[in-house]
Amino acid sequence: MSGEESQWLTVLIAVLGGAIRVGTPFLFVSLGECLTEKSGRINLGLEGNLIMGAMAGYGVAWITGSAWLGVLAAGATGVVLGFVHALLCQQPRVNDIAVGIALMILGTGLAFFIGKPLIQPTAPHLPALHLGAWSDNPALRAALEINALFIVGVLLAPAMAWFFKSSRWGLAIRTVGESDDAARAMGLNVNGVRMLATMAGGFLAGVGGAFLSLYYPGGWSEGLSSGQGLMAVALVIFARWDPMRCLYASLLFGGAGALGPSLQAVGVTSGYYLFNAAPYVLTLILMIAASSTKVRSGMPGSLAAR
């Protein structure tokens, strides 16, 4: 094998590993957003949930010494932020996008404020499974170090798809998302269902944040998130509100996000910042391609109505 070929193989393996590592937070946030949007509301504040989750997860893991307790705490902060979002959105004349931006600012601010003393200490990491042990290629082994949370996320996607399709609660969420009137006619509490969906979505986004601080990139700093929480909203749109497609799209985004650093590792540095923009450009292109003046298939009716 020539030197150049093995270089490209290294890039390919790094992108593959990156798809899994970088894609995991996308997976959790997009599943959370998918759940919330199915109920007919957009939560743009999941970026705040993600950063709060990263901070709270890291802090609790450091204090208790248990990474999994950190994950739970991260989810709990997401539930609280989701509750505030739902509470404000169900008031008259309040715009859910504005509430989302406000919670993004507040969540980020609070996380940076409270998290200030957490920059120094080291918290325990989440465990990883070494699925690449059979290979003697170190790059491949590194790429196949799969975190337990990723596996939880991969199992969660089909579970959520089943939940929407076949369970009574999934049907309730879909009905509320389709039409307020139809839901009321069925005797459903529209605001109650939306609140539960937003809180559960917030939980998942918080867990995504815990992955950032407790596994990859790991540690707590103010530059930990680069807008994954916001991009997840776009991701859900072109996954057309389907949990399984959210899984594939998250992997695609993760791979696109890993492209810049992977190329830098083999010495291609000139376009570093442009490659970093790859996921954003990709999202935009896919949104333009997937959109039309017709209502998109799979879009909850209450979202399409405005």
Partner: protein, 343 residues
Amino acid sequence: MTFAPFLIPLTALLLSLALFGVFVSLAGADALAVYHSIYRGAFGTWFSWQNTLVSAAPLMLTALCTALPARLGLIVIGGEGAVVLGGLAAALTGLALIDTNAWLALSGMALAAMLAGGLLIGLVGWLRHSRNVNETISSLLFNYISIAILSFLVIGLLRDPETLNKPSTHHIGESHMLGALGETSIHWGFAYGVIACVILWLLYKRTTFGFAVDMIGGNLRAARLSGLPVGRNIFLVCLMGGAAAGLAGMVEVAAVHGRANTSLNAGYGYEGILIAFAARHHPLAIIPMAILFGGIRAASGLMQRDHDLPDATGLVLQGMIFILLLASEAVFARLALNKGSKA
């Protein structure tokens, strides 16, 4: 409810200051002393007033970027990207015109910046109208793409090799910098902001174009049926909003930094969103709101130093104000509804 436009922001502001006081007390600071620092840093002396007005200049312009499309019912959050691209275009034009006179260079920079920012947000509006691409998400993505383009160019192609710590373009020339208003340290950018807000208010209030915009925002179907050029108006409104934010980028380059670099990405765009909502998307109300938030921005350094609080303290206060603003908007809407049902 004629007082509502004044009462809502005022209530929210007082409540958030109270909540913020509790918050900093929990963090171990003396709330009253913190309030005093904010006041001193923002409005206490003529010196702090000047700092406040300098910070308010780009905020007025970025607030217009959200406020103008909001009249159409669109929520555009791409002010940050328009500032960045506007600043970049201004620096490039300034460098191209470095051998001409200052007046020509500054006019060229302003035009280029407005064109760059305007086309960016105009594209957002066009995508929304023709392809039904969500304007909030697309404008957000353009923020990240614009910042990546800026970083890419100032690190490589356009870099002045003498800028070591912060890669930047070459300097546009001291003699071509945007001057101060009279004997103050407030630069002309503040005047640009006030003038832009007044002109756009007149445009919305006094022209048929403004009427058409309100009609499209109020009832899209009715606007279409009465034969209004909906797509063209959406594009034009977004173009104007983007041009305002682009001009903010020019002001930052021409009056503050003299070069384009990643300092352009200082959160003016995101704070503009908050100001637009606080001003209820009214161009004239943006002026006092921008001064208020400019004051918080100007005072945050002093507040952090005096009381040993983290950098994010200002961000926490902004977030609280925004949340409580939306909450009091809701409470007032409830009161109005109750009043309506009793009558």
